[in-house]
Amino acid sequence: MKSAAPASPVGHVSHDESALLDLLESLKQRHGFVPREVSDEVSRLVEVKLERLRRIQSQLDTTIRRDVQQHVAHWREEEGNLIMILHAIQNQHGYVPREVAMELSRELGVKLARIYEVITFYHYFKLQPPGAHTVTVCNGTACYLKGSGELLNELRSQLGIAEGQTTPDRQIHLDTVRCIGCCGMAPAIVVDGKTCGHVKSSEIAGHLAGLRAKKEAVA
């Protein structure tokens, strides 16, 4: 469940808002003033919208709190449980959202700074949501010797991003990993969880086209 996605309702509101403003503007131009009925109706609409937003917000808070409480309950008895809880959170969301980290800090009674200290120390924990698709290049020694550097260069230039980054449209995330245990198929890349071996840089374009096609099919 991706609970931390307030971006879309907000987006809707601002869209509606601009339509409303347009309407008000045209009323003012045509009649020189905004009739009382209209302005009342507008403020009622705004109230309704705000109320809906507050509801979403509080639902979100409850979900976050409930989820965090569940994770903490599961690990309550264990000493040194912070890292295991962070793993559970990242498994759920794909990263560690700030709101969740804050809730965790309250629930565990641990300073937020200490939680962030741990999150930032370990490369595995991410603070940004992952892209819709991920391409991971193995940069273990076997793959390195067999040309993973060229694959990475090709991906960097085709996507216009560096490893660890996501394309601006949040569609494709580029990452590196150390040895995925398929050294027999070096150089290897992982495209959305599927491992591809003996990859050549000329094949990169095809893999990316495949992902983009997937994206269109979903959209």
């Binding site: 264990e78 000493e79 040194g80 449980n81 912070l82 890292i83 295991m84 962070l86 793993h87 200290e117 741990v118 120390f121 370990y122 490369h123 595995y124 924990f125 940069n139 273990g140 020694t141 076997a142 793959c143 390195y144 010797l145 067999k146 040309g147 550097g149 060229e150 990993v177 150390r178 040895c179 995925i180 245990g181 398929c182 050294c183 027999g184 198929m185 070096a186 290897a188 491992t195 071996g197």
Partner: protein, 668 residues
């Protein structure tokens, strides 16, 4: 749920069950799955259902043949067990019809057995053939044809099938054939030998001595004893078919903790995670500390990028590692254990967690195990992508839920470890040896290896090698034997330049030292280390400066930054190497490198910083001319020198400070 009893365990040992007559085992480790093993398993299950067949379809871990993934093993009544590599769902029909029904093997997929025989027992049924000469494979079809024709001529074609092998286990020895079911192998077979082999061996049942390949297999499987054989998801399979938990039974009921430690001492087992500290001594020291609680930790962080021994063992035989941990705990009086495993190894985590759950259900974990006074609990903790957490004190910090920063030793973990209690940290491979030592005896284990390095070692051989795979050999085997005899030599028949062992903490060993017998001491003398078992083969096209830079960059990225020599020294060193590899190095750089390296070795707090200079120093020691070439002639000239196509003595005069024409470094 009914729990296992001591009596049942004894019965399992006394009466191992018979295997079903007909089975297919699919090797489902991470490598196999990535290559499509799940689809193969699904196709087999489907066909079995569809055709109402009776063969038993089993899941297993990996035997280690990474080069041939996905791998399956097939047993048909009256036939030897056969491994097939590069199996696809499309091949499944053939496996069932040709192999199981018609007793015919499938061309181009058979991986010949390494258990080669020198006597023929029983009539030959199949003849495997593979040309291993300079143009590998080119004459395989010719020999298949010749043998088939000769067999037809003598009316034997119905009885003996000639099969092209995917891999025959002998390399650079011309045409090689193997007679099944015995496993008698002939090498350097020439066209005129065809008639002779058919007449004498196949018809006459006699071994032809001048063709016989007598070199036995170099491998001895102790750690990997069950890998590829048992179902890693089944405790029952481990108990019945792999003498599972018999080592624990012997420890609990036939010896006391001191005797277990004595057995370990007799075995000479030393830690397989890198440093090679005697395992019995570590246990003894931990045991000797008075404390209300002691811990045992299995280090499954496997940080060496490109090594996968520990992952493979955890995925293929998790119960062996758990059993080893329990024996260790019994010996040192620990009641709690942790597996610290990389989060990047989800299959290993899943399988060890399942193993723990099964063991708990059967009463092998918990209070009063098997009715003894020994109680033990095991848990899994995940790493989170920090190489330094493989270091003992950092690992402990990480299990405690903190940043994985190393702390000064002493106190050693055996004195003050996890939550301040005495703790023994053992590598996965170390623990996997333990049940075998308990069941077969320390003296048996010590019978393998050298004077100071006993037993066997698993290596993950990768890079420019023909067959990237897991190899387990007795200590004292030479690098040449490992690379040429077991793994088939260098890819594409190129020339080998060096071998890297020990990963980012290790060094390169140049070709002139390939006959070194592998031991903790010999590798250290050469400026490398045993490490955890990564072995990277490099050929003439690989630039040693680039390789050194690769490992150093890894260490710089992974430095925790706690102490200056490692943090600053590493960064400076990387900058110098970068400068050199772009052709901007100066004559004084090499001396500067030496100085920084020494400072890092001496003053760094933990093993990461202390050993990070090793790849640089060892490449400098053996391949100083490649560094010189970069400095004196720029990258494109250096590339020629590193390939051996330009002699370093004739460096072109470079004018003043003109930047090189083509400053792009390349590793090709």
């Amino acid at each position: 749920m009914k729990t296992l009893t001591r009596q049942e365990l004894e019965d399992f040992a006394a009466n191992p069950p018979a295997n079903p007559p007909e089975w297919i085992r699919v090797q489902l480790d991470t490598g196999g799955i990535a290559a499509g093993a799940e689809a193969v398993h699904a196709a087999l299950a489907h066909e079995r259902e569809e055709r109402k067949l009776l063969f038993s379809l089993q899941r297993a871990g990996s035997i280690g043949y990474s080069f041939a993934d996905p791998v399956i093993e097939v047993q048909a009544p009256g036939m030897p067990r056969i491994h097939y590599g590069h199996v696809t769902p499309e091949l499944v029909g053939q496996v069932i019809e040709d192999h199981l029904r018609d007793r015919r093997l499938i061309d181009d997929h058979v991986i010949a057995t390494r258990q080669r025989a020198v006597t023929l027992d029983g009539p030959v049924t199949h003849l495997l053939v593979r040309d291993t000469g300079p143009e590998t494979g080119s004459k395989t079809e010719f020999f298949q044809f010749s043998f088939t024709e000769e067999l037809k001529r003598r009316g034997l074609a119905e009885r003996v099938q000639v099969v092209r092998a995917l891999d025959i286990g002998v390399y650079e020895e011309g045409a090689v054939i193997q007679l099944l079911p015995s496993g008698v192998t002939y090498a350097n077979v020439l066209a005129p030998d065809v008639a002779r082999i058919v007449a004498e061996s196949i018809e006459g049942g006699r071994v032809i001595d001048d063709l016989l390949w007598k070199t036995p297999d170099r491998q001895v499987r102790i750690v990997l004893r069950n890998c590829g054989d048992v179902d890693p998801d089944s405790l029952d399979d481990y108990l019945r078919r792999a003498s599972g938990y018999q080592g624990l039974r012997r420890a609990l009921f036939e010896s006391n903790p001191e005797q277990v430690i004595a057995e370990l001492k007799a075995s000479g087992l030393r830690g397989r995670g890198g440093a090679g500290f005697p395992t019995w001594m570590k246990w003894q020291l931990t045991r000797a500390q008075p404390a209300p609680q002691r811990y045992v930790i299995c280090n499954g962080d496997e940080g060496d990028p490109g090594a996968f021994m520990d992952r493979s063992v955890l995925e293929s035989d998790p119960h062996s590692v758990l059993e080893g941990m329990m024996i260790a705990a019994y010996a040192m009086g620990a009641s709690k254990g942790y597996f610290y495993i990389r989060a990047e190894y989800p299959k290993a985590v899943e399988r060890i967690e399942r193993a723990i759950r099964q063991a708990r259900e059967q009463g092998l974990l918990g209070k009063n195990i098997l009715g003894s006074t020994f109680s033990f609990e095991a848990k899994v903790r995940l790493g989170a992508g920090a190489f330094v957490c493989g270091e003992e004190t950092a690992l402990i910090a990480s299990i405690e839920g903190r940043r994985g920063s190393p702390s000064p030793r002493p106190p050693y973990p055996s004195v003050r470890g996890l939550w301040g209690m005495p703790t023994a940290i053992n590598n996965v491979e170390t623990l996997a040896c333990v049940p075998a030592i308990l069941t077969r005896g320390g003296a048996w284990f010590a019978g393998f290896g050298t004077e100071t390095s006993k037993g066997t070692k698993v290596f993950a051989v990768t890079g420019k090698v023909r067959n990237a795979q897991l190899v387990e050999v007795p200590m004292g085997t030479t690098l040449r034997e490992i690379i040429y005899e077991v793994c088939g030599g260098v890819l594409d028949g190129r020339e080998i330049k060096a071998v890297q062992t020990g990963g980012p903490s290790g060094g390169v060993i140049p070709v002139q030292h390939l006959d070194t017998r592998v031991s903790y001491e010999s590798l250290q003398q050469l400026g490398s280390i045993m490490g955890s078992g990564g072995m990277l083969v490099m050929d003439k096209t690989d630039s040693m400066v680039e390789v050194a830079k690769f490992y150093l960059k890894f260490c710089v990225d992974e430095s925790c930054g706690k102490c200056a020599p490692c943090r600053i020294g590493g960064y400076q060193l990387l900058q110098i190497l970068d400068r050199i590899s772009r052709g901007r190095g100066s004559a004084g750089d090499l001396a500067l490198i030496q100085r920084i390296c020494q400072a890092m070795q001496r003053a760094s707090l933990c093993g990461l910083g202390q050993t990070a200079p090793n790849p640089v120093l060892s490449t400098l020691r053996y391949f100083g001319e490649e560094y010189q070439a970069f400095i004196e002639g720029g990258p494109s000239y250096a590339r020629k020198v590193s390939r051996g196509s330009a002699s370093p003595a004739k460096a072109p005069e470079r004018t003043g400070t003109t930047p090189p024409v083509n400053p792009t470094p390349s590793n090709r």
